[in-house]
Symmetry: C2
Subunit: 130 residues, 2 copies
DNA sequence: ATACATCCTGTAGTTACTACAGGAGCAAGC
DNA sequence: GCTTGCTCCTGTAGTAACTACAGGATGTAT
């Protein structure tokens, strides 16, 4: 059974414009066309879209997803490469978390310095200081 | 004492191209020019650049920094607005952290499923599943 | 038949920068 | 005085990963 692009979007969770974008960029193969020229998607194509979506949700960059899809088309011995990519991504994610937690703490501190009814905002003063 | 743009960049931690970008976008006021047409920065201008940099590091968007700078030019009663903006930013930062932690856990789990020497990568299989 | 939904292509906008290209001016050493 | 090299100038284009039209064709439901 095949689906039109709107349906594929619903089934994969990837929105229509993004699907066309992925095709333009060669991230997923060009969709087959019906006689009227419209794109059609079979279950395989939808799986691929869902895969891309999941990887994006896990923080993988598009270039890496390209690699993962290529690896998944080959057969064996890919596990090491997949794990490698994933570990690099995990490290990046963890680094981002650390950054954000630092931001979170600093913000929290600044906000508590900032009480209403003052003639000058201590938070702004702090940010301008030194 | 005034400084050339390269010096201002060093003193503020904002890089040269970014300083010019901030000026183009009206985030900081246009720099005064020396007779030879080059930009010059006094301590005040450098403070403003440093302020923008700190705010960016805290996760504030440029539009919000614009507001913060405007508020800092006024005198009183701004504390509430500053705190409001900051709390919204803090909420966004916290939400991002939650997202990333979820990603981190999912990645960790996928990676542990993925041991080398297998004929098929379980991680890829998982990402394609259902 | 008519209205509305869905699809098409192609282009431009988003965020916050960064990276040139191509040229001018300035400071230091010979 | 001249060359070398650094810093500066403007203006434009590129980055990541989409998103949002415009303008038009086709499909579906009443």
């Amino acid at each position: 059974m095949t689906h039109a692009i709107g349906n594929a979007a619903k089934l994969s969770g990837v929105n229509i414009e993004t699907i066309r974008y992925y095709e333009r960029e060669g991230i997923v193969p060009k969709a087959k066309r019906a006689e009227n020229g419209r794109r059609t998607y079979d279950e395989d194509a939808i799986s691929r879209l869902r895969f891309v979506k999941r990887c994006r949700e896990l923080g993988f960059a598009i270039v890496d997803i390209r690699t993962l899809l290529r690896l998944s088309d080959q057969d064996a011995g890919t596990c090491d490469e997949v794990r490698n990519l994933s570990e690099m991504n995990l490290a990046a994610v963890s680094a981002k978390i650390e950054d954000l937690v630092r931001m979170q703490n600093a913000l929290q501190e600044l906000i508590t310095s900032c009480r209403s009814g003052q003639t000058e905002c201590p938070m702004l003063r702090n940010l301008f200081a030194e």
